[in-house]
Symmetry: C2
């Protein structure tokens, strides 16, 4: 049964899973909601609530079976399989992502990279050969790519995303500082550094104003 | 008056501001909530609701005065001043961030970079000289740095963040795939690529399951 859960719940589930994978590697058998909460920056009540969405995993007062819960979360998150990823735009951010070893470890295989800059095409970066955008459609089909990471300059981002979607991408991770317009069936997450920095500025400014008020 | 608004509202305000800055540069005087909504991927009702938190900016039926609203949003977000940023860890992601021209344009000056790797110390990257971690405290004070970007390997992230906070950082942007534990007065935002990719996998998997159910 598929049910809608919020992005923030999904992020917490990912964090629980990370912790469970570590505990499982260490061959620990049982974990309490408190331990899981502490290592992921939330509360035990939140852990129990999040996990209760998906049925009852733990036994009251006995904690969760580490290995079982890990498998369940992998199933819920769709992480029992590997995912094929393409990077569109191999500037600074794109190149950094291509070399990011953590992806492979977590089930993501970056199998293609594209750029419009002729001087980059044909170059090999972290084992992936940079291709011309004209080869995008065929490559997405041939290599069964389902996720596109957009790391182009802002002006090129929407076109690149459209192209990836037409080629079959089901999900887009967008590093360009622009809100993409995409069909509703395409999953999108934004990685917008400046937006997050501006959010921090708001919080710092607000805290400063609050401190002044109480003086 | 400082009032708590949610992270997602703050993100939308940032997007409105981006759009307003562009319109202002184009010397457009007035913008409707609909136009603002369309260019930022939300609804006109949401725009009106978000802006109503901060007093009444628009005249009914006449839209918002572009320049006034831009200035107001800059004040709300704390973006009437420039912010000094340090990058901790100059691996692939850290180096990419150092060269990211969009920061300067948006009011962020990356004025320092640190690494524990001796072979990197003293190197100049995008006009910033990489320093040893031992110089962190003095540099934060001397250069009045308020934001630290954590781009270290995961094992080093918590220590680096602690150090930045002790040196006076008021805000942390964290690229390491770990939930940092920091004092409540420090503002934190996470830029966790793998977490976002896993969120996309959940959405794609869920959509697939929903499609099967309706077949």
């Amino acid at each position: 049964m598929a049910r809608k859960i919020s992005d923030s719940t999904v992020r917490r589930l990912s964090r629980y899973l990370r912790r469970l994978r570590t505990l499982d590697r260490q061959e620990l058998k049982v974990v309490s909601s408190r331990e899981l909460a502490e290592s992921t920056g939330t509360t035990a009540a939140q852990v129990r609530k999040d996990l209760s969405h998906f049925g009852s995993f733990g036994k009251r007062g006995q904690g969760y079976a580490v290995s079982d819960l890990r498998v369940h979360l992998e199933e819920i998150l769709g992480l029992t399989r590997r995912w094929r990823v393409a990077v569109l735009g191999v500037g600074k951010i794109g190149s950094a992502l291509l070399g990011y070893g953590f992806f492979t470890q977590r089930g993501f295989d970056v199998v293609a990279a594209f750029d419009s800059d002729r001087s980059k095409i044909g170059r090999e970066l972290a084992g992936v050969s940079v291709q011309a955008l004209s080869e995008l459609e065929q490559t997405f089909v041939d290599r069964e790519i389902s996720i596109a990471i957009i790391a182009t300059p802002v002006e090129a981002a929407q076109k690149a995303a459209n192209r990836a979607v037409r080629a079959g991408a089901q999900a887009i991770l967008n590093f360009a500082p622009i809100k993409l317009r995409l069909p509703p069936e395409v999953a999108v997450r934004e990685m917008d550094v400046t937006l997050e920095l501006e959010g921090l500025c708001y919080l710092v400014t607000e805290a400063g104003a609050a401190a002044e008020e109480t003086e």
